[in-house]
């Protein structure tokens, strides 16, 4: 049931450390006074970020874990969604979120999560990096619902310590919930128009399905209540 996917983000740090410890000038230093100078290597923190789809029948879009400076928020309830978040929430495409200028590091998966599935992304940071984490994924069988966490400070996590959070569903407020323009069942994805919706992020009210909305293309097994996903972050190095 569990799909483990590992993505290396900053292998460069370790590589730099190895290179600086090597003798690159070509001289032979076989003499006894060839003492090793202590080198200040940046400390590497490695985090395993595991997301589990705990809905009954919602597809979750491929997750992307993003780090940035503290105080950066990918969304705020009551405020209009950015176009990047709108694209994520309406189509499941996180590429614009990942490309936001505030983003310092990101690890993205290429596959989504079926109900009950888990995925683990591995995030490597240097101790000089920003330690605020965000993650946003679409609930794929809705118009513009997403779940995630934003501006989560992970700097306090000790080695082998875990942080767990249950994630609630938000409505991006950028597309009317007609339950027709739903990409997870072959309907329309991103559309720049926000006509017909409130143009602010809110907690999602849930879906009606064909049982309660005559024109809905959604089925009862697509219904959800909060929380919709489980996030576990463990510092492993």
């Amino acid at each position: 049931m569990k799909k483990i996917q590992t993505f290396k983000l900053v292998g460069l740090i370790a590589m730099t450390a190895i290179l600086s410890a090597c003798d690159l000038d070509g001289n032979d230093h076989a003499s006894a006074d060839d003492t090793v100078e202590p080198i200040e290597t940046p400390q590497t923190y490695v985090y395993e970020v595991t997301l589990t789809n705990i809905t009954q029948g919602q597809m979750i879009s491929p997750p992307a874990v993003i780090t940035h400076a503290a105080g950066v928020k990918l969304w705020e309830a009551g405020e209009p969604a950015s176009v990047a978040l709108e694209m994520l929430a309406e189509s499941g495409d996180s590429s614009e979120l990942v490309a936001l200028p505030d983003v310092e590091h990101s690890v993205a998966s290429e596959t989504g999560l079926a109900p009950g599935e888990s995925q683990t992304l591995t995030l490597e940071l240097s101790d000089t990096d920003s330690m605020s984490l965000s993650l946003a994924v679409m609930l794929g069988i809705t118009n513009d619902a997403f779940t995630g966490v934003t501006d989560l400070d992970i700097s306090g996590l000790e080695l082998n310590e875990s942080y767990q959070q249950s994630l609630m569903a938000y409505d991006a407020g950028t597309e009317e919930n007609d339950e027709i323009a739903v990409p997870g069942i072959g309907g329309e994805g991103f559309n720049a128009s926000r006509e017909g919706d409130v143009d602010r992020v809110a907690v999602h009210a849930g879906i009606l399905t064909e049982l309660e909305l005559a024109t809905s293309l959604l089925l009862p097994e697509h219904k959800f209540d909060n929380p919709t996903a489980q996030l576990i972050i463990t510092r492993v190095q």
Partner: protein
């Protein structure tokens, strides 16, 4: 950010202070049913070790969990807990209605984790649950809000037909007496065969037909479904 750091260092301190004592906990348990009209079958509280769980999100239900979630039968879960040195408390021994507060006490022995389950009625395989809460070593009162889970073992057809046995479709009963009959079935597919968050009842307003035997004005809920208050003595 709720890190376990503080709890951990507190745990270390209290371990040092009571190093000679056996690590036993005497707990007072209070469970409040927060729903509008959803009943709980007999509530099982279990203390167990780190390697045991009654259910895990994203993993298939055990047969024992299925029996509890589809029919309210906790005997299998209790045997499982006893087999690994755990301790059980039957917080209630008969179904209790919405709004009811149930109380009890449990001596957890050397078991450091606490779980709770009870079937939600009327549902097909819904249950209120607590999964492996690490019992604090510091005395005090702790409050946890509990969600409604779906065992993933039976389609939520919302038909009240007495079916509470494993492999038999349907809902055993509605102790609140608000269920109808003649429904044709609310759902015909189980979207997630692992333990997940219950999407809630749908119901309709036709007591003698429609797609569901449940009443949409009575039998719905939103999480949380219960409040659990634990006093560590």
């Amino acid at each position: 950010m709720k890190l376990k750091q503080t709890a951990k260092s507190l745990a270390i301190i209290s371990t040092l202070l009571s190093a000679a004592q056996v690590n036993a906990a005497d707990l007072d348990i209070t469970l409040v049913n927060l729903t509008h009209s959803i009943s709980f079958t007999p509530v099982l509280v279990a203390a167990h070790g780190e390697d045991t769980s009654l259910f895990t999100l994203g993993e298939a239900a055990s047969l024992s969990l299925q029996k509890m979630a589809e029919g309210g039968d906790t005997s299998g879960l209790k045997s499982d807990v006893t087999a690994v040195g755990g301790v059980n408390l039957d917080l209630t021994d008969a179904p209790t209605l919405a709004g009811v507060t149930s109380m009890g006490s449990i001596d957890t022995g050397s078991n450091e984790y606490l779980s709770l389950t009870a079937m939600l009625l009327p549902t097909n395989d819904g249950f209120v649950g607590l999964d492996s809460w690490h019992i604090p070593t510091e005395a005090g009162t702790y409050t946890i809000m509990l969600n409604g889970y779906d065992a993933g073992t039976e389609v939520n057809d919302e038909i009240v037909n007495g079916g509470g046995e494993v492999g038999v479709a349907g809902i055993p009963a509605d102790p609140s007496g608000n269920a109808g009959s003649g429904g044709t079935g609310a759902s015909f597919n189980e979207g997630n065969t692992t333990v997940h968050i219950h999407p809630g009842n749908i119901g309709d307003t036709d007591a003698n037909g429609g797609f569901s035997d449940l009443d949409s004005t009575v039998h719905r809920w939103l999480n949380p479904v219960a409040k659990l208050v634990i006093t560590v003595n």
